[in-house]
């Protein structure tokens, strides 16, 4: 069941977009769902949220950051190459309805999975504000796509090289919450500390907030329980109960700790890979 790459774009130094030929998944997927891919026989199962899909062309797009061995290998594939398998769509779709004003906040690579959610929220008749953050202006991705659809787009950078100078939670507060702009729902996707900061902020202003969790998982169908997260004191599986949850109920501390389970092994895998690339083993 190998899957062909139809398009490859480098979006920033570390961020890549791949478009796969996957008509069945393209037909079924909804905003908020993800796929799991495996590059080769020895590869791990890599979960990636769907960044876009085209039913007519039969394609599914993922956007990822080349941070470990698997994602670096993925980034080195070319148009016409095939990966071994792609399974999906997995997870519950985003709950879409007309809320009023929805603020879609993407941090770093989290901007990519926000893209279909933003589109679906807009299509449901919401006024959509998008806040896109990155460490610096070169790392901002998909700005044009968001500008085409969203009613407002605010760019933030940690170093102030573009847009609002500072973290996303402060941008949200300074620009919208403090001035008293009515926001009916916040959807936030990004690194755990960022989502945690956003939910702390929106709790202060009592704005309902949905987050999408990228827990470590293997099968993506509820079988391994590796992706368990504590939500409202209960154990939930990010793969089948999520990946989206009420951000005010998520135990981010536990999530962050579980995400760091394999830090040592990831380093080892990376070093092993580098040696292999140099011809040693």
């Amino acid at each position: 069941m190998s899957v062909r790459i139809l398009e490859r774009v480098q979006l920033s130094e570390m961020v890549f977009k791949l478009v796969f030929e996957a008509p069945l998944i393209a037909r079924k997927r909804k905003a908020g769902q993800f796929v799991i891919l495996r590059i080769h026989e020895k590869g791990e199962r890599v979960p990636l949220t769907i960044a876009d899909a085209d039913t007519e062309a039969g394609t599914v797009t993922v956007i990822f950051q080349a941070v470990g061995k698997s994602t670096r290998q993925l980034s080195m594939l070319s148009v016409g190459d095939e990966i071994l398998d792609l399974v999906g769509p997995l997870g519950q779709p985003t709950h879409i309805e007309k809320f009023g004003t929805v603020c879609c906040i993407g941090g770093g690579i989290g901007v990519a999975p926000m893209h279909p959610i933003m589109q679906a929220m807009k299509a449901a008749g919401n006024e959509v504000i998008a806040i896109l953050g990155a460490r610096n202006k070169d790392l901002i991705i998909m700005e044009d796509e968001f500008r085409r659809r969203a009613d407002e787009v605010l760019i933030t950078t940690d170093d102030g090289s573009a847009g609002f100078h500072g973290f996303l939670n402060l941008a949200l507060e300074e620009t919208y919450l403090k001035p008293g702009r009515k926001i009916d729902l916040v959807v936030a996707i990004g690194p755990v500390p960022m989502m945690r900061a956003i939910t702390d902020m929106t709790a202060k202003y009592s704005v309902p907030t949905v987050v999408s969790l990228n827990a470590v998982m293997v099968d993506g169908t509820g079988m391994c329980g590796g992706c368990r997260v504590i939500v409202g004191g209960e154990v939930k599986y990010a793969c089948v109960d999520g990946p989206e949850f009420d951000g005010h109920k998520v135990d981010f501390k536990s999530l962050g700790e579980r995400q760091r389970t394999y830090i040592e092994q990831e380093k080892q895998s990376d070093e092993h890979y580098c040696r292999c690339l140099k011809g040693g083993n």
Binding site: K42, M223, R260, H272
Partner: protein, 470 residues
């Protein structure tokens, strides 16, 4: 050899790897019979006119007939005889609890030891495979009827094998990237080499079964959509894939696995060969495995092979109540798993990084028998103590995976989200939809799932015969 001599032969032992050696490698533990051993063991079968052993087999293998062929040295023919009713003989010869089934009924067992039926089954299947390409029964009949099998574990593979032989077109949908279900993700290499599962699935494919991996029914297709796609019947064999936890404090700490995850990482993803394979696994030095079933034994023995210094098997009852096969318990003990019987974990403690560092155990004692007929474990007050660990594996059972039930309107389920299906036909509350295996009964054994698959296949065949031709 005359009957008297045959009656005096002791049960032939099967050679196995030395415990100290095998506890550090993933190679198969029992090495299997040689042809000489098989010839001798086959002599022990007295060819009963009314063979009780066959009654004990959930798929009704003609045991005396295949053993008679072994005794004549016709090993390949013996394998073909087994395959008439069992699509996965090399698997069953290894993982069936024969001591509770066929061998428990063997008349030789009344006065001495039962004939080693399982070892002989394994031998003939392995012998046939070692002879190169396994012969494939020709099936020229084509009914034009299409069956979708959801899940490629023991139940689904049995249904697929039976129905393809009856001329139906069969497509198996598997959620993972590899077919085999629990045979590939759950049971470790040292108990069931994956090459054997692959060979058995390859055999089904050569008979014409189409296997579609990475296809999650309930997501990519619903059951209704399978009918819309032109399938005439659907078999649901999705298994008991949802891991259970104890819901005690600290269970979410890093380093605590469900047995499903631990075994899937090691078996399916080959994390034991990390970093050659990309999937990591925590190689704990002090590992606690909680539970007393076969899965707990598999997890404990896997932990040893991943290099643990101490593996503690924590079980709240005594050894007599353990649901694991005695052979598995015996193997685990021989290899050095430390049994903490009448112990129950009550809390996990973590370090500052959220990594598990200890389990608090409470001692238990046996009370009155409970609903399962086993003595109920009762807590001993004030008996808590700490065991230092860096990894824990929870192997206390698993529940029904909900993906199909949640997306199939009109499919009746019972408590625990198991599918309600007729015991003799597998018929569910939905027309044309059948189910069997763990998704109906709750977690059980490979062979019971195969038995359910066998019955469902008969019912599906009858159902298809009633449908008008397309």
């Amino acid at each position: 050899m005359d009957m008297k001599e045959r009656m005096q032969l002791p049960r032939t032992a099967m050679p196995e790897q030395e415990p100290k050696v095998r506890a550090r490698n993933f190679d198969e533990v029992p090495l299997g019979y040689t042809p000489e051993m098989a010839l001798i063991e086959a002599q022990r079968c007295i060819q009963c006119k009314q063979p009780a052993c066959v009654q004990g087999c959930p798929v009704g293998v003609n045991i005396p007939a295949f053993i008679a062929l072994v005794a004549e040295g016709k090993f390949v023919e013996a394998a073909m005889k087994v395959k008439e009713t069992n699509a996965l003989p090399a698997v069953c010869g290894r993982v069936c609890p024969q001591e509770e089934q066929c061998e428990s009924k063997c008349v030789r067992g009344l006065k001495a030891e039962a004939v080693a039926i399982g070892r002989l089954e394994r031998f003939v299947a392995d012998f046939e495979r070692s002879q190169g390409e396994v012969a494939c029964p020709e099936c020229t009949l084509k009914t034009g009827k299409r069956v979708a099998v959801v899940g490629s574990g023991p139940a689904g593979l049995t249904v697929a094998g039976d129905l393809i032989q009856r001329g139906h077109s069969v497509t198996v949908f598997e959620a993972l990237h590899k077919a085999g279900g629990v045979l590939v993700y759950g049971i470790p290499e040292f108990r069931l080499p994956k090459a054997i599962v692959e060979a058995e699935i390859n055999y089904l494919e050569r008979m014409g079964v189409e296997v579609r991996t990475s296809s999650v029914v309930g997501r990519i297709f619903t059951v209704d959509e399978l009918f819309e796609e032109g399938f005439d019947a659907v078999f649901l064999g999705t298994g008991a894939g949802l891991p259970s936890f104890m819901n005690i404090p600290g269970e979410n700490l890093s380093g605590i696995y469900s047995a499903n995850e631990y075994l899937t990482r090691s078996n399916l993803m080959k994390a034991y060969r990390f970093p050659e394979y990309d999937t990591p696994i925590v190689r704990g030095r002090n590992v606690a495995v909680v539970g007393g079933g076969n899965v707990a034994m598999d997890a404990a023995r896997t932990a040893l092979r991943l290099g643990a210094d101490n593996v503690y098997l924590i079980y709240r009852r005594s050894q007599a109540e353990m649901p694991a096969r005695s052979e598995e318990v015996h193997h685990a003990e021989e290899e050095g798993v430390q049994f903490k019987l009448l112990h129950n974990p009550v809390e996990y403690l973590g370090d500052e990084r959220g990594q598990v560092k200890a389990v608090i155990c409470r001692r238990m004692e046996l009370g009155e028998p409970d609903a399962s007929g086993r003595c109920r474990p009762v807590e001993v007050a004030g008996s808590d103590y700490e065991i230092a660990i860096d990894t824990a594996v929870i192997a206390i059972g698993s529940g029904a995976n909900p993906l199909v039930q949640g997306t199939t309107p009109g499919l009746e389920t019972r408590r625990g989200n198991y599918i309600v299906a007729d015991e003799t036909t597998g018929q569910t509350s939905r027309k044309g939809v059948f189910a069997g295996g763990d998704i109906v009964t709750g977690a059980a054994t490979v062979i019971l799932a195969m038995g359910a698959g066998r019955k469902a296949a008969q019912a599906i065949d009858a159902y298809l015969a009633e449908l008008p031709d397309k």
